[in-house]
C-alpha cells in the first residue's frame, strides 16, 4: 500500500508539470500587453518598457516559463501582477477556506441524500417510487446550478420578502449571517451531486441484489430488510466512494459559478477576476493548486477504495 501511494505521488509530478505547461501556454496564446492594460493609453513607450521589465514580461516566453516553474517547485507561486504587495500563495490561502467550506457542505449533503434516494429507488425498482426518485434526481443533474441559485435567491424575496444577505461576512465575524449565505449556496451546489450519487447507488445496489450471495441470504429466510441493509448495501456502496471523490473534485469547479451568483469571495471569484485581468501568476498558481487538490482527493479515494474492499489490493 505504501508503495502504491508513493508511486501515485511520483506519478503526480509529470501530470502537474503538464498542467503547468498547459496553463502557461494557454495564458499566452493570445498576445496581450498587460503593461498597457495596467497603465492605460497615455503613457510613454519608456514607461511601458520599464514596467514590462519589472514584471519580467520582456524576456522570451520559454525563459519566462522556466523562471516561473523553477520558483514554483521551490514553493513560490510568485506575486499577483496587479496587487504585488501580497504573494499568490497568501491570496489563495485567504480564499481557499471559503471554497472548501462550500464544497464540503455540498458534498456531505449530496452524498447522504443521494444514497438514501438511491436505495429507496433500487428497493422499489420500476415502481412509481423508482420513477419519481429517478426523475427528480435527474433534475439535479439537468438543472444548471446558476439557475437553481437564481431561483433560490429570487423567490424567497418575492414571496416572503426574505433575502439572502448580499454581503459576505466571515464565520468568526457573524456566524449567523455567514451561514445564511453559505448554506443555501452549498445546498444548491450539492443538489447535482445528490442526483449523481443517487443514480450510481441505485445501479450498483441493483447489480449486487442480482448476485448469488444475495440469493443465498434470501434462501436462508432472512427478511428483505436484513438482506438489503446487512448484506447488499455494504458492497453496493463501495463504488459510490469513487463517484463521490470525483464529485467532490467537480464541486471545486462548480463553486466558481456558485460563488459568482451568490457573491461569495472564494477561489472561484478570485480566478474569474484574475483571468479577465490577465494576472498570469495568479491564474497559473490557482489552477496548479486546484489541480493538486483534485489529484489528492483522487488518491484518497483510491486508498479508501482498497481499505473498504478487501478484494482490491494495490501493488
Amino acid at each position: 500500500m505504501t508503495r502504491f501511494i508513493v508511486r501515485r505521488l511520483l506519478m503526480l509530478i509529470p501530470v502537474l508539470l503538464g498542467v503547468s505547461l498547459l496553463i502557461f501556454t494557454l495564458m499566452r496564446v493570445v498576445p496581450t500587453d498587460v503593461a498597457a492594460m495596467m497603465l492605460g493609453e497615455n503613457v510613454s513607450t519608456e514607461t511601458l518598457a520599464s514596467l514590462r521589465k519589472d514584471l519580467g514580461l520582456d524576456k522570451p516566453i520559454p525563459l519566462q516559463y522556466f523562471e516561473w516553474i523553477s520558483n514554483v517547485v521551490r514553493g513560490d507561486l510568485g506575486r499577483s501582477i496587479w496587487l504585488p504587495d501580497k504573494t499568490v500563495t497568501e491570496r489563495l490561502l485567504q480564499r481557499l477556506p471559503v471554497t472548501f467550506e462550500l464544497a464540503l457542505i455540498a458534498t456531505s449533503v449530496g452524498i447522504i441524500s443521494g444514497i438514501s434516494f438511491g436505495v429507496l429507488a433500487a428497493v422499489r425498482q420500476d415502481t412509481w417510487v423508482d420513477n419519481v426518485a429517478r426523475a427528480v434526481g435527474i433534475i439535479g443533474l439537468a438543472a444548471p446550478s446558476f439557475w437553481i441559485a437564481t431561483i433560490v435567491i429570487l423567490f424567497p424575496a418575492i414571496f416572503w420578502g426574505w433575502s439572502i444577505p448580499a454581503a459576505y461576512v466571515d464565520l468568526t465575524e457573524n456566524p449567523g449571517n455567514h451561514l445564511m449565505k453559505i448554506v443555501p449556496a452549498a445546498l444548491v451546489l450539492g443538489f447535482s451531486l445528490t442526483a449523481t450519487v443517487m443514480r450510481y447507488s441505485r445501479t450498483t445496489l441493483l447489480e449486487v441484489l442480482r448476485q448469488d450471495y444475495v440469493r443465498t441470504a434470501r434462501a436462508k429466510g432472512l427478511t428483505e430488510r436484513v438482506v438489503i441493509y446487512r448484506h447488499a448495501l455494504k458492497n453496493a456502496l463501495i463504488p459510490v466512494v469513487t463517484i463521490s471523490g470525483q464529485a467532490f473534485a467537480r464541486q471545486l469547479g462548480g463553486t466558481v459559478i456558485i460563488e459568482t451568483v451568490f457573491n461569495i469571495p472564494g477561489v472561484g471569484l478570485l480566478m474569474i477576476g484574475a483571468i479577465t485581468a490577465r494576472d498570469y501568476n495568479m491564474v497559473q498558481g490557482g489552477i496548479l493548486i486546484l489541480a493538486l487538490f483534485l489529484a489528492f482527493s483522487n488518491l484518497v479515494v483510491d486508498v479508501l477504495y482498497a481499505v473498504l474492499d478487501p478484494r482490491i489490493r494495490y501493488s
Binding site: L26, L141, P144, I151
Partner: protein, 302 residues
C-alpha cells in the same frame, strides 16, 4: 412464416424468412417504447430539434425585435412567456436560443466522441508506451476542474461561439478517451480479436470491424450524456458572459448580466430560460440512460 416469402434453401435466406425484417430504426423504436422516460425524452429532443431548425416559422416574433410599448409584459396571449426589459418576446428568444445550444452541443459533442473514441481505441489497442503517453496527456487535461479550464480558455481567447466549441472539445474529449480505452482494453482480450489477427486482418480492420462494433453502445451513450453535459457547460459559460456574444439569444445569457435587475419585477424572465435548459439536458440524460439499458447486450431482456 412461409407465406411471407418463398422457401429458400440457404441458411441465410431461411433466417431472413423466419424473422420478418424490419428496419433497425423501427426495431429500436419499439424497444425504446418500453422505456417510457427514454421515449418521452426522445420525443422532446425531436421537438427541440424541430424548433431549432424551423425557428423562423415556429417563433411568433423576431427574437431581436424590441418593442418600447411592451416592455416587461407578463405572460399573456400575445406573448405566451412574456417580454423582457427591451420588449423582446421571451418565447421567440428561447426558440432561437435552442438553435445555438443545439448547434454548439452537436458540433462539440460529435467532435468529442469521434476524437475521444479514436484516441481511446488507439491507446487501448496498441497500449505500451504509446498508449501510456496518450493517456498521460489526457490525465493532464483532466487534472484541471473542467469548468475552470473552459472558463480560462474562453476568457483568454475571447467570448465567441467558435471559442466555446473549442473549449468544450478540449475539456470533454479526454473523458471519452479514458472510458473508451478502458473498454477497448477488455474487448481486445476477446478470442474473436485473436481470431482476426490469426487470419491476417490488418490493425485498421481489427479496430474498425472487430472492436468498434463492440464498443459502439458505450459511445452512443456517451454522446447522449455528453450532449446534456455540454449544453450545460455552454449555458454556464454564457451565464458568465463567456458565451456567444449578444445579440445572439442564448439561454445562459438570458439569465445573466444586467437583465437580473428586473427578475424581481418580472420573475418569468428568470424561469423560462432555466426551464428550457433543464428540459433539454434532462432529456439527453434520460435518453442516455435508456440507451444504456437497451444497447448493453448484457442488459437485454431485463
Amino acid at each position: 412464416m412461409s407465406a411471407q416469402g418463398p422457401i429458400s434453401h440457404t441458411a441465410g435466406e431461411i433466417a431472413v424468412v423466419l424473422r420478418p425484417k424490419q428496419p433497425a430504426i423501427i426495431q429500436f423504436m419499439k424497444r425504446l417504447m418500453h422505456k417510457p422516460l427514454g421515449f418521452i425524452s426522445f420525443l422532446i429532443i425531436l421537438g427541440v430539434v424541430f424548433c431549432a431548425l424551423f425557428a423562423d416559422i415556429v417563433a411568433p416574433y423576431d427574437p431581436d425585435l424590441t418593442d418600447r410599448t411592451a416592455t416587461l409584459v407578463a405572460p399573456n396571449v400575445a406573448h405566451p412567456l412574456g417580454t423582457d426589459p427591451l420588449g423582446r418576446d421571451v418565447l421567440s428568444r428561447i426558440i432561437y436560443g435552442a438553435r445555438i445550444s443545439l448547434f454548439i452541443g452537436i458540433l462539440a459533442t460529435g467532435t468529442n466522441v469521434i476524437l475521444g473514441a479514436t484516441i481511446g481505441m488507439i491507446a487501448g489497442y496498441y497500449g505500451g508506451r504509446l498508449g501510456m503517453i496518450i493517456m498521460r496527456c489526457m490525465d493532464v487535461v483532466m487534472a484541471i476542474p473542467l469548468i475552470i479550464l473552459a472558463i480560462v480558455m474562453v476568457g483568454i481567447l475571447g467570448p465567441s461561439t467558435k471559442n466555446v466549441i473549442l473549449a468544450i472539445i478540449v475539456v470533454g474529449t479526454p473523458s471519452v478517451a479514458r472510458v473508451t480505452e478502458g473498454i477497448v482494453l477488455s474487448v481486445s482480450k476477446n478470442v474473436y480479436v485473436d481470431g482476426g489477427k490469426a487470419i491476417g486482418a490488418t490493425d485498421f480492420r481489427i479496430l474498425f470491424r472487430y472492436i468498434l462494433p463492440n464498443i459502439l453502445h458505450v459511445t452512443m451513450v456517451q454522446f447522449s450524456i455528453g450532449m446534456g453535459f455540454n449544453i450545460l457547460t455552454e449555458s454556464s459559460l454564457s451565464f458568465l458572459g463567456l458565451g456567444s456574444p449578444p445579440p445572439t439569444p442564448t439561454w445562459g445569457q438570458m439569465l445573466s448580466g444586467s437583465g437580473r435587475r428586473y427578475f424581481a419585477l418580472a420573475p418569468w424572465l428568470a424561469i423560462w430560460p432555466g426551464l428550457a435548459i433543464t428540459l433539454v439536458v434532462y432529456s439527453y440524460n434520460m435518453l442516455g440512460d435508456a440507451l444504456r439499458d437497451l444497447l448493453d447486450p448484457r442488459m437485454r431482456g431485463s
